[in-house]
Amino acid sequence: MAENESQEKIKEDTQKLLTKWKNKRGALIMALHDIQGLFGYVPWEAMEVTAKEMGVPMARIYAVLTFYNYFKLKAPGKVIISVCDGTACHIKGAQGLLDAFYNCLGLKDGQTTEDGLFHLQVVRCLGCCGLAPVIVVNGKTYGKNTPADVQKIIAEWREKMAETQGV
């Protein structure tokens, strides 16, 4: 049931988004780009709506999507990054970590990367001030971080996701 609902939602949202591209020639790639921006990937239901609305066979849409590495066909596993900005972490340099995330991923509090892979949130004290400044990624705790560690953490999770999700 829940799945049907989300499929319907995807169809509706795609329909809305496509009004912008519908009657433009050669707009397929840009439309698919927008769809990925919205969902973080290009869902099958969105492809079907695009095929219908833009009068392009699925075979061509799928050929385009698989030709460019940029497009994702599966919902990427979200990597939720929590950066603590509680007092202890704040003093120990949480802001430097947040700056590093912004530089590497372009993310501020509450934002998700365009491919849907990383989500950043700023949290209050996580109860392990001894390890400040603290980052928690999908439940795994990293302590005593420096801005340089941020890069390593991102690389580590990228690799992990590529392995398990094929994205």
């Binding site: 075979a59 799928y62 050929a63």
Partner: protein, 588 residues
């Protein structure tokens, strides 16, 4: 006057019409250039590079290079041969060495080129990346796609997308992962594929072939209790000879009957008998709709299962327009297990009906709906393509050429000229009109009018004409190749939107180019020349028939007297008619 161009090929001057490719220009002076991705039916994809020649000193692909005034072409020198060998070696280095067990063995274009070029060892063992492994897709039970044997020539994609307008297949991914598959890597059975088999008729290798049911038929023939009955489609009689060295279009009906009898079939029937029944039913249905106003117009023919599949997927709103009449082989199946079974006193459960078809989609049709079990059993047990039966005859060691001609068995073996023309585009319409004319006017058509010229022929994809029937205009349209359907449907739609009368009353569609004579299960290597020759063969079969209209067939008259009553009777409806349902393009 066409503009002509003069060029030199291997020091020989040749004049060709403007727009001719260098490859075709060479063919005109009997200079052979090897090809692999090129096919005369299709737009050149220029994917393989084996057709390379030197033009004014530059290496170019001849299949996609237009001839130009004053061009100097060299088609063979040691450099060119070396380049061609390299193309072949690279292709072979990614190809499984499975010729011995491959369904295309002896029929494969890659294999024969490798033989011709004397490639004896895999030269690129070490540098080739592991080929992209993908499982076989036999999900349709009509065609089989084995991506490992695919050389990415693009022919199947071209035919599926641009000739058939189905878009089941496309080229997916890139670099070493490039492969042919339906969108989403769906199974073909879950894709828009209509099983027309045109991809298998155009694939140069064993990557796309017909689903082989011949072993099942051999075991049916072995089983002592079985009463095996066989029937051959109209278009098979003019193509089968090709596998045994005859010119395309040679009518070998009598030898085919003889060969089938030697293989052990107990009764040899002819799908043409079923075609005559189809005309009785479909013709009456048209008269009901056209004269008596019972049912919507235009009426559309339904004897091509790939076309039916296409309509159910792409134009489900057209369902009420379809004739409900089954296709000829399904009719012969249903009548064999009822009418004939009663006549000879054999338990229908013991009867196995095998149909020999030019078609891969027929394999799907025999299972497509509950109406295909109208006799209480599966009406047609197995449908074989022309290619499969030719292999079986060779396996049996039958000397086809020297066979004495034989006759089919009675009563489901007698047919008229109207039935035999079912095999090519325009033929079903023509056959129907002969009988419709009789049903409406009570008079036979004049002999000179029997061949409705404007709707015959393979050149034009859409053919139209208006016919006068007892003072009323009948507007007719004939299309072949599902790629031509969209235009016809648009015309219908536009008229509807404008509130006008439909532009046609009666439409015939056959999914394959040229109709069944160019069917997806026919002997390979088809070109328009061959299609025309096969069509001419069927037309002569018609011309020399004793009866040329379905309603004149004495066995058909008897069938209605003894068994069915009259066309569109309750019994006819139960045994000879079917229904249609919308089908989604993709199943996930």
């Amino acid at each position: 006057m066409e503009e002509m161009i003069t060029l030199t090929i291997d020091s020989k001057e040749v004049k060709v019409p403007k727009g001719t490719s260098v490859l075709d220009a060479a063919k005109m002076i009997q200079v052979e250039i090897p090809t692999l991705c090129y096919h005369p039916d299709l737009h050149p994809s220029a994917a393989c590079g084996i057709c390379i020649v030197k033009i004014n000193g530059k290496m170019l692909r001849s299949c996609c290079t237009p001839a130009e005034e004053g061009m100097e072409v060299i088609t063979r020198d040691p450099d060119i041969i070396e380049a061609r060998r390299t193309v072949l070696k690279l292709t072979l280095s990614k190809h499984p060495n499975e010729c011995l067990t491959c369904q295309k063995n002896e029929m494969c274009e890659l294999q024969s080129l490798a033989g011709k070029f004397g490639i004896r060892a895999n030269a690129f063992d070490n540098i080739t990346p592991t080929p992209f492994e993908m499982p076989k897709d036999a999900s349709t039970k009509c065609i089989v796609l084995d991506p490992r044997k695919c050389i990415l020539c693009g022919r199947c994609v071209e035919v599926c997308q641009h000739i058939q307008n189905v878009w089941a297949l496309s080229i997916l991914d890139r670099s070493v992962k490039t492969h042919i598959a339906p969108a989403g890597d769906s199974r073909l059975a879950d894709s828009p594929c209509i099983k027309c088999g045109q991809c298998t008729a155009h694939c140069p290798t064993g990557a796309l072939v017909e689903y082989d049911d011949s072993e099942r038929v051999w075991s049916m023939l072995q089983e002592k209790d079985n009463y095996c009955v066989v029937q051959i489609a109209p278009a098979v009689r003019v193509s089968m000879g090709e596998a045994f060295g005859y010119e395309p279009g040679t009518v070998t009906t009598g030898k085919i009957y003889a060969a089938l009898r030697k293989m052990g079939f107990k009764a040899i029937f002819d799908t043409n008998f079923g075609a005559d029944v189809t005309i009785m039913e479909e013709g009456s249905e048209f008269v009901e709709r056209f004269v008596n106003g019972n049912g919507v117009l235009p009426m559309i023919t339904s004897c091509c299962p790939a076309w039916v599949d296409f309509m159910e997927k792409f134009y489900p709103d057209m369902i009420p327009h379809f004739s409900t009449c089954k296709s000829p082989h399904a009719i012969v199946g249903a009548l064999t297990k009822t009418y004939y079974a009663e006549k000879i006193g054999v338990e229908p459960s013991k009867i196995k009906v095998i149909s020999i078809m030019p078609c891969t989609a027929k394999k799907f049709e025999i299972l497509r709906s509950k109406e295909m079990f109208a006799s209480g059993f599966q009406d047609v047990d197995v449908s074989l393509t022309t290619r499969e039966i030719c292999r079986m005859i060779k396996q049996a060691g039958i000397d086809f050429v020297n066979l004495q001609e034989e006759r089919a068995d009675s009563p489901l073996g007698e047919y008229t000229g109207a039935a035999t023309v079912f095999g090519f585009t325009g033929g079903v319409m023509e056959a129907a009109l002969r009988t419709v004319h009789y049903l409406v006017t009570g008079q036979e058509m004049n002999k000179e009018d029997l061949e409705v010229k404007p709707i015959l022929g393979v050149e034009k994809g859409i053919k139209e004409m208006t016919l006068n029937l007892a003072g009323k205009e009948v507007r007719i349209c004939v299309a072949h190749g599902t790629g031509n359907v969209e235009t016809v449907m648009k015309r219908l739609q536009e008229a509807k939107e404008k509130g006008e009368e439909p532009p046609y009353h009666f439409i015939e569609v056959m999914a394959c180019n040229g109709g069944c004579i160019g069917g997806g299960g026919q002997p390979l290597g088809v070109t328009d020349e061959i299609r025309k020759a096969r069509m001419a063969g069927l037309m002569s079969d018609d011309e020399f028939s004793e009866f040329r209209c379905s309603h004149q067939n004495p066995s058909i008259k008897k069938l209605y007297e003894e068994f069915l009553g009259k066309p569109l009777s309750e019994k006819s409806h139960h045994l000879l008619h079917t229904s249609y349902q919308p089908i989604p393009l993709y199943k996930r």
